[in-house]
C-alpha cells in the first residue's frame, strides 16, 4: 500500500437487508450481497475508471465513497482518515444530472458554495468562472428544463467543481447522452481534469469510455461485486492523439477488457432475468395467498 493513496478502499462489504415494498413483504428474507471484499487504492490526481455490468454494485460503491451510506464491514480512507459522512471534499455527478429545477443554471452551481458558507458576491463570481469553464457562458440564467441533456450535465459538473472538492465521483455521467454529445463531454472532461488536477473516480458500463478516459480501469464482477482486475492504460496526454479510438493499442486494451467483462455481463443478465421471474412468481403466490386468506 503506497503512502500517496488519496483513497483506500479496504475489504469493503455491503449487503442490503429485506426490501421494503408492498409486494416483496414475503420475499426471501436473505439479504442482497451487493459488494464483496472490495480493495482499491486511488492515487492523488488519478483518473480511475470503474467498469462493470449493470447491477453489479457500482452505484453502491459510489454511495459509500460519498459517505451517503456506510459499509457493512471494511473501511474507506480519504487521505488516511476514515470517511464519516458526506462532505464537500468530495463532489458527485449523477447520471440523471440532479439539478434543482427551481434554480437557474448559475444558482445551481452556487448551491454547493452556499452550503460551504461562501459569501454572495464571491459565490456568484466563482459560479460564473466554472460555468465558463464548462463552456456554458451565456446560459447562466436558464432553468434546467430549458437546457439540453449535455448542457445539464455540464452544469452538474460545474456545480460539483465549484466548491473545489478534492475528489470527483462520477456515476455513469454520460450514459444518458447521445453518442456525439458523449464524445464531446468525454474530451471536455479530460481537459478539465488536466486543468484542475482533481482525483476522479468515474463509473461506467462502457468499455470504450473506460479505456478512453481512465489512467487505470478497475473491472468489477457481476453481483456480488468484486474487483476482478485493475488494468493500466498507458496513453500519455490522450488529447494530443487525434483519433485514439482507432489506435491499435486502444483496440487491444478494449478487447482485453471485453474478454474480462463478457462473462460477468452474461451472468448479470441471468441474475436480472431470474430476479424478474422471482418477483413474478412472488407476485402470483402472494395473490393466491390473498385469496386463501380472504
Amino acid at each position: 500500500m503506497t503512502t500517496e493513496s488519496k483513497i483506500s478502499i479496504r475489504h469493503v462489504h455491503k449487503a442490503f437487508g429485506i426490501q421494503r415494498g408492498s409486494k416483496q413483504l414475503k420475499a426471501e428474507n436473505q439479504p442482497v450481497y451487493a459488494l464483496q471484499d472490495i480493495n482499491l487504492e486511488v492515487r492523488q490526481g488519478e483518473f480511475m475508471v470503474i467498469v462493470g455490468p449493470s447491477g453489479c454494485g457500482k452505484s453502491t460503491l459510489l454511495d459509500l465513497l460519498a459517505g451517503l451510506t456506510k459499509p457493512g464491514s471494511g473501511q474507506i480512507l480519504l487521505d488516511g482518515k476514515a470517511i464519516s459522512g458526506p462532505n464537500l471534499d468530495r463532489g458527485i455527478v449523477f447520471q440523471q444530472y440532479a439539478l434543482f429545477p427551481w434554480k437557474t443554471a448559475i444558482a445551481n452551481v452556487e448551491f454547493g458554495l452556499e452550503a460551504k458558507g461562501v459569501g454572495r458576491k464571491e459565490r456568484r463570481e466563482t459560479a460564473q468562472r466554472f460555468i465558463d469553464l464548462v463552456g456554458l457562458g451565456g446560459f447562466e440564467h436558464r432553468y434546467p428544463h430549458e437546457l439540453s441533456g449535455g448542457m445539464k450535465q455540464r452544469i452538474a459538473i460545474a456545480r460539483s467543481l465549484a466548491y473545489d472538492p478534492e475528489v470527483l465521483l462520477m456515476d455513469e455521467p454520460f450514459a444518458a447522452l447521445d453518442a456525439q454529445t458523449r464524445e464531446t463531454l468525454q474530451s471536455e472532461l479530460l481537459r478539465i481534469w488536466e486543468a484542475t488536477g482533481k482525483t476522479i473516480i468515474f463509473i461506467t458500463h462502457g468499455i470504450e469510455e473506460a479505456v478512453y478516459l481512465g489512467q487505470r480501469v478497475a473491472i468489477m464482477t457481476s453481483r456480488p461485486g468484486r474487483i476482478k482486475r485493475v488494468i493500466d492504460i498507458p496513453f500519455e496526454s490522450r488529447r494530443s492523439e487525434e483519433d485514439l479510438r482507432s489506435n491499435p493499442d486502444f483496440v487491444k486494451l478494449r478487447h482485453e477488457i471485453w474478454e474480462l467483462l463478457k462473462d460477468e455481463v452474461s451472468r448479470a443478465q441471468e441474475q436480472e432475468k431470474s430476479k424478474t421471474l422471482d418477483a413474478y412468481a412472488e407476485g402470483r403466490s402472494s395473490a393466491k395467498g390473498g385469496v386463501r386468506h380472504g
Partner: protein
C-alpha cells in the same frame, strides 16, 4: 439607391408597427375566444325571458338582474354581505393554511406517519364538509365560529393531503445530491424539500380556496343573518328574484377572482416551471 440608408430605418419601423399590430390582434382574438361563450350566454339570458318561453317572474332578463345588483350596491347591502362572507372565508382559509402546511410538511417527511395517516385523511376529505355542518352547529352554535370552522374543515384536507404528497414525492435524487453536499436536515428541508414540494402544495391551496367559498355560501344558507349565502336565501324567501340572481352572480365572480389571484401567486412562486401556454 442613395436613399437606402434612409429607407432602412423606415422599414424597421414598419416592421415594428406590424409586430405591434399583430400583437394587438392576437390579444383581441384571445379576448374574443375567452369571452364569446359567456357573451352568448348572457345574450340568451337577456332575450329568452322576454320571448315568454320561460316565466319572467322566476327568470328575469339579465339587465334586470344587473339593475338589482346595482341597487344592492347603492344601498350598501352587497358590500356588507360580501364583507361578512369574505371575513369568514379568509379566516378559515388562512387558519387552514397555518395548520395544514406545517403539519403536512412534517407528516410527509416522516414517511411512516404518512402511510398510517393517509387513508384517514382521505376519508376525512371525502366526508363532505356540509354533511357534518349539523355537527358544527351543535357544537359551536350558529355564530361565526361554526362558519369559520366549516371553512377550516373544508380547506384543511386538500391542503394537508397535497402538502404530504408534495413532500413524499420529492425526487430522491435531489435529496441525495443535496445530502452529498453536506446539507444539514434543516437546510435540506428549507432549500430542497419545500421548494420541490411547492407546485403540489399549490394544487391544494387552489382547491382549498375554491372550497372555502363554496362551503361557506352553503353554510350561510342554513343558519346565518349575513353573508352572500344568506342574501340569496333571503332574496328567494322574500320573492326578490332579481336580487337572488344578483347574489348568485356575485359568488361566481368572487370564485373566479379568488382562483385568479391564487393562480397569479402560484405563477410568481413557481415561475421556474414550464409555462403552461408554450
Amino acid at each position: 439607391m442613395a436613399e437606402g440608408n434612409v429607407a432602412k430605418p423606415l422599414i424597421l419601423q414598419g416592421r415594428n408597427a406590424g409586430g405591434a399590430l399583430e400583437r394587438v390582434t392576437a390579444k383581441a382574438r384571445r379576448a374574443f375566444r375567452n369571452s364569446v361563450a359567456i357573451l352568448l350566454f348572457l345574450t340568451a339570458w337577456e332575450i329568452v325571458p322576454r320571448t315568454g318561453i320561460v316565466n319572467v317572474t322566476f327568470f328575469p332578463p339579465f339587465s334586470e338582474v344587473v339593475n338589482a345588483w346595482w341597487g344592492l350596491l347603492r344601498a350598501g347591502d352587497l358590500q356588507d354581505h360580501l364583507a361578512a362572507s369574505l371575513t369568514r372565508s379568509i379566516s378559515g382559509f388562512l387558519l387552514a393554511n397555518l395548520i395544514a402546511i406545517p403539519l403536512g410538511l412534517a407528516i410527509g417527511w416522516w414517511k411512516t406517519a404518512a402511510d398510517y395517516l393517509n387513508p384517514f385523511l382521505e376519508l376525512m376529505r371525502n366526508t363532505a364538509a356540509l354533511a357534518i355542518l349539523p355537527v358544527f352547529i351543535l357544537l359551536l352554535g350558529l355564530g361565526e365560529t361554526s362558519k369559520i370552522a366549516i371553512v377550516l374543515y373544508a380547506s384543511l384536507f386538500p391542503l394537508l393531503l397535497n402538502t404530504i404528497s408534495g413532500v413524499k414525492n420529492v425526487d430522491p435524487l435531489l435529496v441525495k445530491s443535496a445530502r452529498s453536499m453536506g446539507l444539514s436536515s434543516v437546510s435540506l428541508f428549507r432549500k430542497v424539500i419545500v421548494p420541490a414540494a411547492l407546485p403540489t402544495m399549490f394544487v391544494g391551496i387552489r382547491q382549498a380556496g375554491a372550497s372555502s367559498i363554496l362551503v361557506l355560501v352553503a353554510a350561510e344558507m342554513v343558519g346565518a343573518t349575513s353573508g352572500l349565502g344568506y342574501l340569496i336565501q333571503y332574496a328567494q324567501f322574500s320573492f326578490l328574484i332579481p336580487q337572488m340572481y344578483a347574489g348568485i352572480i356575485t359568488i361566481s365572480v368572487l370564485g373566479i377572482i379568488v382562483n385568479y389571484l391564487l393562480l397569479a401567486l402560484e405563477r410568481r412562486l413557481t415561475d421556474w416551471k414550464q409555462t403552461y401556454g408554450e
